[in-house]
Symmetry: D2
Subunit: 343 residues, 4 copies
């Protein structure tokens, strides 16, 4: 039973493990002040072309989201997010647990536009009886596989600046977004257009680890305290530093993401060729084909993947995810199975 | 300029003020242990026919909602509310500030039905990646003037019991609900069908004050600590006790609410007679007529009321509120003005 | 049985009740925007000689403390307080419930000195493994009846400014402090030396109510949201405005406090004349004589007061509190009783 | 420059890295449901002789402490801890940030006794004006290197049971405690005497990882939600499972701890032989010798360790820590240096 259920079913890319073994006995100071973390941050600052960025490594995405958001906001300030946003749909109320409302927007494609935010601002104007929207949360790629274009990002960024809103980008799958075929954004663009974002390691080849990047250093004031207070400061911070060093020293991060995307697109083309459509256009390593329930049942005998939601009596959306670790022969076998059950 | 904007524009019913003056120099112990509070609670326990209820007096509705809810829930538990619910629409994120998500339901009439809740429970089933719905919040009368029938309350109550959900009723305007013409619920029914509810004083003749009633005493364990911790325990608790004593000793509470309702219904009939319709059927002291914008503009020259929302280019919903203090001659004058501007 | 147990055993000063009755039927807008509140704030700004101060009225001291502190601090910031401070000793963890540690200092007299704070700053220097001390909380008069001198306040204020610490003064009994015989501070001095303070009404003649004063307006940014979110914004804000109006229009506030102090001092002299000493020197309306346990037992048959703590087998400290409402003939009777049992 | 500053300066024990490499490409389900985690939990349940224990793996100690404590306590409940306790002294207010006060006890040896707790309960009896002590937090070994005896644990456990208090043991260095020469406790005793405890991996050979053990399963109700909500649920939970599997499959955990203790004791004997004393008797891998400041200065030229606190003009306490990774020849060299500078 091969799994297309998520992009964290395997361990880490072998280069990362090799480096962990190599450096294992070197003594290092703790809590993220180790040489590897320092070096990795230097490389990231170059990649984003922002020598002043404040960078921190933490274990996971939910942790990142809750710490960044609770660090930036005062008690009465709220977040605007697509209803599909990870912070709303998948994090067990982590943000609300820090005291803040998430105001959601229904979207087709998981992306926020200035108009969506404008509507929220108007709805939340009856001060002080309502919360104050203050931070816009977006994901790239989104939780339903779509990506932002450069012009979309630019407009969103300008809108946020004009309205005194923070723009925070969840990059749990940022590699996959930036290596999608129709992408026109660079890592440095992401840094330019957002106030703070993170680069996800866990879903792209690391054992664990996300790199939080504050593009304006004053937004990171005292952020080290926040990490410690929320239990996110690893004693052996080297574990995170070494991984980001390996991922970004030679752009391994992007080649891993590209592989994941290619595997997904290969499946997407095959599905399309069988005449099926998709919930959202397939571009990254998460695709959402709409298949007959009978076909889904058959495929689930040999492959593991997530049944996203029913469409009607006959059809349902499924989510198929590939990753840096997906083997092409497994993809080919899946395509063969698909052809088998649909013909 | 006479105001129909809310039901807290005046002070308190004169009987209350008289009693405050009368008792002023009697020494009492503080923090809600005074004789007046004790007596008022005794009367309330009789009225609800539940000698075991745990009762507490606090200053206001938002305070009540946040303390009751945060006392009952563990960190991962969430609230289900109509989107118009006061806790979602009017309390500046007070509930989220205690760490809990409010899951909202779009409704026509501001009321929750078992099906609404069933849908939420299904959506929130992917444990532990989502919050756990645990408390159902309803208001009676609702924020848009509607009321629950006995059979609606019974079904909701049964559904909550079967699904291990708390049922909490916000009674900021409970008097108005229970004295509406089409009401078939009693105060004792409310106590029977809910786990916890409150009786609003502020919007029905008190200077301030709400009576929180836990129908099952174990739900109130250590609730005194909660009140103190949230800053809700008044040193001179007598101020609240005396008011509830006056309001419930001879059912003044209900006669005040009835007056408010009658004043609103008089206006509602007049509006209906002019051929206008309503956002929700008018039953209590809050009515929501849909009027031509030109008519609204004219009326606003002489009367203060709240423009609720636009319907289209020509029409808008307004909210007109009456209260225990509304003078009938002002109502008559308003009706005359209405007739004047619409003919 | 006459009570010297606290200064909130009676209702409100008759002038306040009279004004409540007088203004009762005047319609006012809600939530603190009423004319009375506006006028009262104007008078207070004159008294403190700071036309730019931001002023808010709330119900009680614990509420004030928790809202002011949680509004000013970021999550990792902490408070420094005397161990006898009300926020540490009497508020059921209200401050910690907003997420902040209170770092305590053992004192003889309930007052903080720059050296105490300096010690704390040194102890809490191992960033980011410790909290960051950021706000100094003091009370005047203190919880054990002592008061700050002008030079003490000045040194504390300078120290806080130099070390980027907020100075917050709890004035639950500020009237009593400023009318003590040995006091050399004015209300305007208090405003000058602190960042934020409050003037307590509940313990000096009001039914309830404290006036929060931010001396620098930017510290109050969005404070209206905080009040609403914590359930502190009364619908009938007029109740607070009217009371402060009466208390400060003609300095009633100070004459009431003076009376309370004089009653306490009369008792203190009598106790001293009997040869007894005190936990702290008696200056305000709270005195802490050290009496033989047998004497205490006898006095408790006729009077209610608080047994503070045992000193040894034979002696204990008691707390005797007088107020604006204390009748001189009751004080005289108490003194007679004291003489009776000690001779 | 060799470091004796902490027990997390190196990576992980080579067996752990080997297993990570070996299992790397095996697909596993995420979020702690992987086969390795399941197997490791089974082994731990056997070791503690409690087949019903609920076990969870998380990244670090602060995270563990804050999630366990906030999961067990209601808002008004407080923790009792030694002032040296990690939650009070080293976690940036992580516990208070979840809303709870830590009530501290001054101790000589970092350990709590029933009398200490009894005193606290008496001090905190003025309900509801104070918090309610509900959880006793202890560490074994303590933050100053001492350990609990079986009879101490038994008395503490009985006292907590009798007073309806949770007993929570921080076992960040539990291996070191249980392999100390004078220890008479077993892992199964720890499970028997506490309500919940954790076994620290980070400070004893793991890259990261602590095993939280609830000895009574009802205390763990919905704990999975808590982990997710606080950002502690690793997508690749296998990383934690594999490490605990390796550490406990053949008692590697205890042999690593024993090595660390032996290295520390070797240094301790040498220090003692030079005539120096200690802050606390040396038993585990953390020792606190009191050395002349001149000696400290000399040693710091070649070795890194932590200056704990000054004793007087001439002497200071230092903290020397060894670990599973400490090389004996480095220990010998340090002893030689010590002899050199002190003779």
């Amino acid at each position: 039973m091969y799994s297309f259920k998520n992009d964290y079913a395997e361990g880490a890319h072998p280069k990362i493990l090799r480096k962990l073994v190599e450096t294992n006995s070197v003594q290092q100071v703790g809590y993220g002040e180790d040489d590897y973390s320092v070096e990795a941050k230097g490389i990231l600052r170059q990649k984003i072309q922002n020598p002043d960025a404040a960078i921190y490594f933490v274990s996971g995405g939910t942790q990142t989201n809750l710490i960044v958001i609770s660090s930036l906001l005062r008690p009465h300030e709220a977040i605007i997010s697509a209803k599909t946003g990870h912070i709303y749909a998948n994090e067990a109320g982590a943000i609300e647990a820090t005291g803040h409302r998430i105001i959601t927007v229904e979207t087709e494609d998981g992306k926020l536009k200035p108009d969506d935010i404008e509507n929220i601002l108007q709805t939340y104007s009856h001060r002080p009886h309502v919360v104050k929207p203050k931070l816009v949360y977006i994901s790239n790629s989104t939780e339903i596989g779509t990506i932002y274009t450069k012009s979309e990002m630019e407009r969103l960024s300008n809108y946020c600046k004009s309205n005194d809103l923070y723009l925070f980008l969840d990059g749990a799958r940022l590699g996959q977004a930036l290596t999608a075929k129709n992408n026109d954004l660079t890592l440095s663009d992401i840094s330019h257009y957002t106030d703070v974002f993170y680069i996800g390691g866990t879903k792209n080849g690391a054992l664990l680890g996300e790199a939080i990047i504050f593009n304006r250093i004053h937004h990171a004031t005292d952020f080290d305290y926040m990490l410690k207070q929320k239990g996110a400061l690893l004693a052996k911070g080297r574990l995170l530093g070494i991984q980001f060093l390996e991922l970004f020293r030679d752009d391994l991060y992007f080649s891993l993401a590209k592989h994941g995307n290619e595997m997904a697109m290969k499946i997407a083309y095959a599905i399309e060729a069988q005449g099926y459509s998709f919930l959202t256009p397939p571009h990254t390593n998460q695709i959402f084909p709409i298949l007959p329930k009978a076909v889904i049942r058959e495929l689930l005998r040999q492959y593991d993947f997530y049944e996203w939601k029913a469409v009607d009596e006959q059809y349902a959306v499924v989510r198929i995810i590939t990753s840096w670790a997906t083997e092409e022969n497994k993809v080919d076998a899946f395509i063969d199975s698909l052809k088998g059950v649909t013909s």
